[in-house]
Every structure is written in C-alpha cells, then in structure tokens.
C-alpha cells in the first residue's frame, strides 16, 4: 500500500450530502476483474452526459460542463471536499480505487459511511473528518479563491489553509501508523498466526459445528 504522510493539493468541492458509492463508480464498471481502470469512470454518471460502458473511449463522450470535476479550475485536484455521510451505500472498494486512480488522495468531509471509511485506508487514501462548521467555511473559501489548496499533514494531524488557519483532526492511532508506513495489514495479522490457531483450537472445543 502507498504511504500517506503529507499532501499539498488543489481542492475540488462537491457540495452535496450522502454521496453514495453507486455514484462514485457506477455498477457497470464493477464487472472488471482488475484493480485498475476505474479512474476514468469516477463519478461517470455525473461526469458525462451520455451513458458510460466499460471499455469506452472517454475522449469521444460529452462531459457534463457543470460537474465540479470538469471545471477547468479544479483540474489536477488531489483533495475532495465533501458533505455528510460521504461514501454511503455499497461496500464496493472500487469506489476508493477510482478516486485513487483519478488522483484524489484525501477526502475531507464532516462524516463518512463506515465501510467506505475502512476501505480508504487499504489504498492509502486519507478520509479526513472535520467538524461540519469547518467544512462549511472551507466550502465558502474555495468559491472566493481560485487555485485553492490545502496542506494536509498526517504526522501533525493538521490541515493548513491558504489564509494560514490550521485545523487539527482526529485519527485512530493504529490506522495512522498503517498509513504513514504504508503497511500491508495481512502481513501484520499473520504475525499473530499463533494466536489465531490457539483461538481456533479453543473454539473448536466449545462450538465444533462452526468448523464443518
């Protein structure tokens, strides 16, 4: 997994609550058996006016000129600013893969759906939670300032705005460690293989029907 330590990036605002993973990557792209190829179809139904299908040449399609990712001023953004309950719905990790492949490394929102939140850490993407009022103020600042960038420092757990304001944020210490080091958590878990076997041996005695 790629590590995440510090990010200075252009911010794209997506001003709507309850953005679901069906919207982030529509189902027709989930037919792929690969981990890549999703970035070009990130938010496909919002990003394009026509219906997207796997394998399409996007340069031949008509983009929705009003959609935030298509606005010239947000090209190259690596931070997505969002509203409540971002990533709700389906467990599809393809949503995270699509964001990552597009170039988004951090999503800032007042709240995230649980499964999406967990999935982010598996690809080294930072889901960063800030209070609703803070997110609100960032939305206001973006519209008044072209080229709006934020600096996200995971080590210091802080977000720095162009005006010099600093916001701290909370993150689970274990998840922070994994992100900073880019750890593979299967590797971490397998270090406890003996514990797992001991648990199984014990459990097999108590509840043998679970092991058939």
């Amino acid at each position: 997994m790629q590590a995440f330590t510090r990010l200075d990036g252009l911010v794209v605002p997506m001003d709507r609550a309850n953005v679901d993973t069906d919207a982030i990557i529509p189902k027709q792209f989930l037919k792929s058996i690969k981990r890549t190829g999703f970035g070009p179809h990130l938010f496909d139904e919002w990003r394009y006016l026509d219906r997207g299908e796997p394998g399409m040449d996007n340069s031949q399609r008509s983009p929705n000129p009003e959609f935030c990712l298509n606005l010239p001023r947000y090209q190259g953004a690596s931070i997505l600013l969002a509203r409540e309950n971002f990533g709700c719905g389906s467990s599809r990790e393809h949503a995270v893969w699509a964001l990552d492949e597009y170039g988004i490394r951090c999503v800032i929102a007042p709240s995230f759906a649980d499964i999406f939140f967990t999935n982010c850490f598996k690809s080294g993407l930072l889901p960063l939670q800030l209070p609703a009022e803070t997110v609100d103020s960032l939305f206001r600042e973006i519209t008044t300032r072209p080229g709006y960038r934020l600096t996200v420092d995971l080590l210091a757990q802080s977000v720095l705005t162009p005006k010099g304001a600093v916001f701290g944020f909370q993150i689970d210490p274990f998840r922070k460690e994994c992100l900073i080091n880019g750890w593979d958590d299967i590797e971490l878990t397998l270090r406890h293989a003996e514990d797992i076997r001991a648990y199984e041996a014990r459990r097999r005695q108590q509840a043998p029907w679970l092991f058939q």
């Binding site: 001003d15 529509p26 989930l30 690969k34 649980d114 210490p173 514990d195 459990r203 043998p208």
Partner: protein, 467 residues
C-alpha cells in the same frame, strides 16, 4: 457481572486478541463470496503466494451479473461472463462450497446463506457486500466488507476491527394489517436517517420485531446498512431455531443439542446498556414509499411529497430539490399520483418465499395495469423459485401479466440486462433508490412486496390496505 448486549456477547466470543488501544483481531466463522468483489482478492492472495486460511468457511455463488431469462445457459455480455468464470475458476481451485449457474441452490448470496443454514446463530459472517447485515437476523454478527478485507479474511480468517457502539431500535406494539417488515425498516430509516446508525451495531427488538418471521427479520436487518449501520441483529428465539433446524449446513444430532444450549444465550440481558435507544410505535407505522434518491426520503403512502421550501437547513433543502428534480416530481404531490413504468419484486431484501406469497395474495385473479411496461418477479434463489412454483405462485404472477424469472440480483442494481430506462419510475422491493441504481436516469421507489403488487395492478401507488 454487568449485563451484556447481544453485540457484546458476539464480539467477546470472536476476539482473538486486542491491542491496548482497542484494535482487535476478530475471528470470522463464515465468509460468503460472490463474483463482483472477490476476483481482486483471489488475485491478491495468489500474487502474495498465500493460501486461504480456512476454505471450508467459504461459500460462493455468482448472483450480481447473472441473467434472469427463463432457462438461460450462457451470459451474453463478455465482461460479465469473464467475471463469473473467474469465480468458477477460483471456487474450483480452492475447493470451496460452490453453487454455480445451473445449481438449484444458487441465488442471491444473502438469501442462500440462511436458506442453506450456512448462516447460523452466534456466528460472525462477512461478505464483500454491504447487505451482509441481513444475516444478523439469526443473532449473528454480520457485516459487509471491501475487497481488501475479503482478501484479509481469506488469508487470515480474521479482520482488524474496533468495537462499534451499540444501538437498540425497539419497535413496540403490533403492526397493523397490510404493514410489513419492509415498512418497519423504512420507517426506522425515515426516523434516524441514512447516517443515523453510522458507527453503531443496531439490535432490533420489541414486540413488533419478535412477531416477525425469519424472512421479515432478514428484511429489517438487510436495510440496517441503509441506516448507516454496518451490522443489524435480532436476538435468537424459537422462531430462529425452527428456521435453522435441519438446514443442510446446520449441525445435527448431538451437536444440534449442544448448539441449542449456546444459542439460547444470544440475546441482550435485561439491563444491558446501549449507547443509544430509539423507539417506534408499531401501530403508527403505515405502508411506506420512498419519493427521493436516498432511503431516508420516505413517507407514508397517504402522505404528500415534501416541499423544500419548508426545510430550513440549506444542505438538506438543496438535497430535496435535487432529488425532486432527478425524480421528476413536484412538491406537495400526493404519493398515490406517482405513475409507474415498471415494477420489480425481488432482491435480498424481499426476494424470499414469504415476500412472493405476500405479493401473490394481492395479485391473485387480477391483472397488471396496461400502462405498465414491465412487471418482473425475480425469486431470491433457485429453491425459493422451486417452492413458489410448487405453491402455484408463478401462475398467479404470470396470469396477471408479470414475468417470472431465474434468481439473481437483477434489477436491484441492474448489472445484468434488467434495468430501467432514463426517466422511468419503478416500484421496487429492493433497498436502494440512489440515482442510477436501477439504470442510468431510472427513478426508484422502495416499497414492500404487497405495495409493489398493488401498484402493479393500479399503475400508480395505492394503499394496499384499501385496495
């Protein structure tokens, strides 16, 4: 000893180890697998030269991509076909319990797991699918995971987890005739919102939940994720045990007796503390219909569509306006004036035999409205289909003008050929009304099977109680 919640008990029984910060390694008893979220996990396993830790814990089947045309033998879409073939290959290579296309036991993973007894009380159950919460109806801890976690469970039989908070949703009293499990859960989501359960494991309790069949409890737990909770659960009682008994994967003989003893403790103790308690009065719940693009955008069938002008929160107001625009609906319009193009009865929420019986009871001897383009019944599994045919339900549906299909996810998410066209309104018994969920530009209204059946006959929504 302090009283414990059901969630406390399930959690404690599965913790392998806990770090000082509360990060735990949680043991997984059952891993359900389908074609969409597993290929990259199997590939990851192979690339790292790892073997599945306990392949016997896995039960696999294709469901999301499979066609529903009667008697189909192949998948026309080459990309879908490759995905299903990849699962065929992986299941064979690791000698998993597998229900391929053509096997009568195949169906939607959340219908088949319980039906086969692969889901048992007291288990931890995971699947790369958010509606895994369904299996919590058995007094199990069941939740959806992403593909990296699928790989993690394959490789280690464990997940790295932190304990959630516990919420009790208690539905007191009795539901009125014509009101179903689906209406209960939609009413709950309407009350607490789609993020109301975020960070919680929800236990559903109260007389109205106790009175539900296992099918009804599964419907309620299925949509816990639509309230933001990864896991939903219901305590074990005689209804649970009667359902599980003699299922193919269930313990038999002496082990059954032994299992019964441990399962009888799978309920919250009398004075167990929850972090949040929400109560509903069952008698107040009416048949529900969603009007918007989030399951929390729901009202009673006798209500009108909300007016954004009445909403003071600007983000919420913009959300309502956007939803009405997408859905092509006007503020203050009566729900019963929504005209329908298609009706879909099926999915892991409402594709079980009870659901088909409820719909057939409404339809019997009547005809689908001529204005409808399509009315579709998709049983949740091959065995549900077989049972329904044995009861003659298929004839009731087809005589009325419904199509009777092969099992699968179908128009719940439209990964196969069953989908809405842009602008079409659909009464669906599934669980998500997100933009484009049932096909790009499609407009979904979530309802119970009985309400969907009545709507199919009328061509618009009607109160099934007065129909």
């Amino acid at each position: 000893m302090a009283d414990k919640t059901l969630y406390d008990k399930l959690w404690a029984a599965h913790v392998v180890r806990t770090d000082p910060d509360g990060t735990a390694l949680l043991y997984i008893d059952r891993h359900l697998v389908h074609e969409v979220t597993s290929p990259q996990a199997f590939e990851g396993l192979q690339l790292a030269e790892r073997q599945p830790w306990r392949p016997e814990s896995m039960v696999a089947m294709p469901d999301h991509n499979t066609p529903t045309d009667p008697g189909f033998t192949t998948i026309d879409d080459p990309i879908s076909r490759l995905q299903v073939e990849t699962l065929d290959h992986n299941a064979r290579a690791h000698e998993l319990s597998y229900f391929p296309i053509g096997d009568i036991r195949r169906g939607i993973v959340h219908v088949v797991g319980p039906e086969q007894g692969a889901t048992l009380p007291g288990m931890t159950v995971v699947c790369g699918d958010s509606h895994t919460s369904t299996h919590g109806a058995f007094g199990a801890l069941a939740f959806g995971i992403g593909t990296s976690e699928v790989e993690h469970v394959m490789a280690t039989q464990c997940l790295i987890q932190k304990k959630s908070k516990a919420m009790l949703v208690r539905v007191d009293g009795q539901i009125r005739p014509g009101v179903t499990a689906k209406d209960i859960v939609l009413a709950i989501i309407g009350q607490i919102g789609t993020a109301g359960g975020t960070g919680y494991a929800i236990e559903f309790g109260g007389d109205a939940i106790r009175a539900l069949s296992m099918e009804g409890r599964m419907t309620v737990c299925n949509m816990a994720i639509e309230a933001g909770a990864r896991a939903g659960m219901v305590a074990v009682d005689e209804v649970t045990l009667a359902y599980v008994k003699d299922r193919p994967f269930a313990p038999q003989g002496k082990e059954w007796e032994q299992a019964l003893q441990s399962w009888r403790d799978l309920h919250s103790d009398l004075h167990a503390q929850f972090d949040r308690v929400v109560t509903l009065d069952a008698a107040q719940i009416q048949p529900q219909v969603t009007w918007g693009t989030s399951p929390e955008m729901v009202v009673a069938v006798s209500d009108r569509i909300p007016d954004p002008a009445q909403e003071t929160d600007p983000t919420k107001r913009a959300g309502i306006e956007r939803a009405l625009d997408y859905m092509g609906l006007r503020p203050n319009m009566p729900i019963t004036e929504i005209q329908l193009d298609r009706v879909f009865i099926g999915s892991c929420t409402n594709g079980r035999i009870d659901d088909l019986r409820a719909a057939a009871a409404v339809i019997k001897g009547r005809k689908v409205a001529p204005s409808l383009k399509q009315a579709l019944v998709v049983p949740g599994s091959g065995l549900v289909k077989q049972q329904a045919e044995a009861e003659g339900l298929d004839r009731i549906f087809t005589d009325a003008g419904f199509e009777w299909r092969e099992p699968g996810c179908s128009m719940c998410l439209a990964m196969n050929a069953d989908r809405l066209l842009p602008g079409e309104h659909c009464a669906a018994t599934s669980n998500r009304n997100f933009e484009g969920r049932q096909g790009q530009g499609g407009r979904t209204h979530l309802v119970s099977p009985a309400m969907a059946a009545a709507a199919a006959l009328a061509g618009h929504f009607v109160d099934v109680r007065t129909f």
